[in-house]
Symmetry: C2
Subunit: 304 residues, 2 copies
Amino acid sequence: MMDAKSSQKAFLEQLVAHRLLIPSGVPGLFGRGRLFEEVIERFNRLLTDVAADDGAEVVQFPPLVNRKHYEKSGFLKSFPHLAGSVFSFYGDQGEYMELLSCLEKGEDWSRLQHMTEVMLTAAACYPIYPMASGTLPEGGRLFDVYSYCFRHEPSDDPARMQVFRMREFVHLGTPETSVAFRNRWLERGSDLLKALAVPISADVASDPFFGRGGKMLASNQREQRLKFELRTPITSTEEPTAVMSFNYHQDHFGSLFDIRRASGEIAHTACFGAGMERVALSLFKTHGFVPAAWPASVRTKLCL
Amino acid sequence: MMDAKSSQKAFLEQLVAHRLLIPSGVPGLFGRGRLFEEVIERFNRLLTDVAADDGAEVVQFPPLVNRKHYEKSGFLKSFPHLAGSVFSFYGDQGEYMELLSCLEKGEDWSRLQHMTEVMLTAAACYPIYPMASGTLPEGGRLFDVYSYCFRHEPSDDPARMQVFRMREFVHLGTPETSVAFRNRWLERGSDLLKALAVPISADVASDPFFGRGGKMLASNQREQRLKFELRTPITSTEEPTAVMSFNYHQDHFGSLFDIRRASGEIAHTACFGAGMERVALSLFKTHGFVPAAWPASVRTKLCL
């Protein structure tokens, strides 16, 4: 464990020294330097190129979602510890004076905040399902989304940020088209990372479900082979970091948001997601902190 | 007032019909369609081009900031009603069962949320000041930032979103260089919007300070001519919407975050900010909902 900590610290120090990341004083919250952003943007374009002939509907969402949709999605039931809700001030002049006094004295002012109608997006695909409620066209639907996501898991590991970008492609259709979509992206993602000379391993995976029942849910998920991840060593060789995930949700979202196939049956869904900061970090880890010195093949692939 | 409401509703309906905005069920929270995003991206590139020779440091921040910095910034003192704080779940199995019960019964679960170390970014430039703490180089510093921002002001006006993007350039230096920077951008912004054939008016402006003392603060701000705005009619001709703002902060941020000039004096700062969604909306309002049918000069300028 000491080794993982030292390795995380050393990697972060290098990233900061090369102006790739800028610490904010909060674990897992960083500013990004120009070159870090450029690597992310170039990799993002690669994903666009790979999917160019798929005809995905491009929709962009801000990093917030309707709280009612979030509550309905099941995320709070499965991962309450990771969710972020947005609170705000609804007070009058009296409460305002109280707020000023708390700020002045450095006291807790959270009692002066109340829940709003929005929450922080936990995964880029979440706003898609309520929006797709209703009957799908023949052949289903395919979406292309990209947004900042929030997971409340403060960590010293630069590869585990609290706020990060996720590019996702999301398919809504039948069980067969969903699994085929998931498998196609597993191949595409794998090819892409290999072309960038990032060492990867593919594995069945599970989500970090909360609480006593969580272990069983995770074990079921693995047994049914619903989730796959591509992993690469960033701050640990023993516990490589997932940079892409490939998920078959069965009828989970279809049932919750009443998404139906043209035939009237409940739709099945699947998504491919790339953790953009993690992909960038894997490139810096593998090829060094100076993109100009990366292997020619990698630079060419990224148009860097 | 009825007219403004009808005009907002009609405009939003058109935006939705043309798949430019996608309602979320929460006022001021929208998904964005492909063409809406393309207009924003092209306009963003125009800003990059205009500033190409300035040598700004490009830094990107996620839509969250360190709460301690936020508290220090004075935003909560001036605009507590607009601020968004992030809360999360810190409970054990018992509180988890309570949360599930609330969700099941549709009851308020806000008591199970506690304040985290982060808040939603209120303006793209806010993370810059704590980061620039210390002594500036001779000539000061110039930053280029772009991020989603949050203001808790639910509204039916599509031009007043709760979450929107702001591109900013931020200068840190002397009173003279700050005012010169602000005035240069007032001219640049004005030229840019004129080239896009968006009808604008420039005016001294003030911020929406909270509470009894707020009016006086706003009046002082106007008297000292610290803030200018470029406005254009989007959902009202009587009350045109600000699409760009030009702010001279005097030594406000310099004092708070101990930013000093090479000479040792407290730095003065200024920023230029463009509300990207508002700029896009002003283009749709002025030239129609189909970019392919916009005037040739506008399309050429935007490389559309």
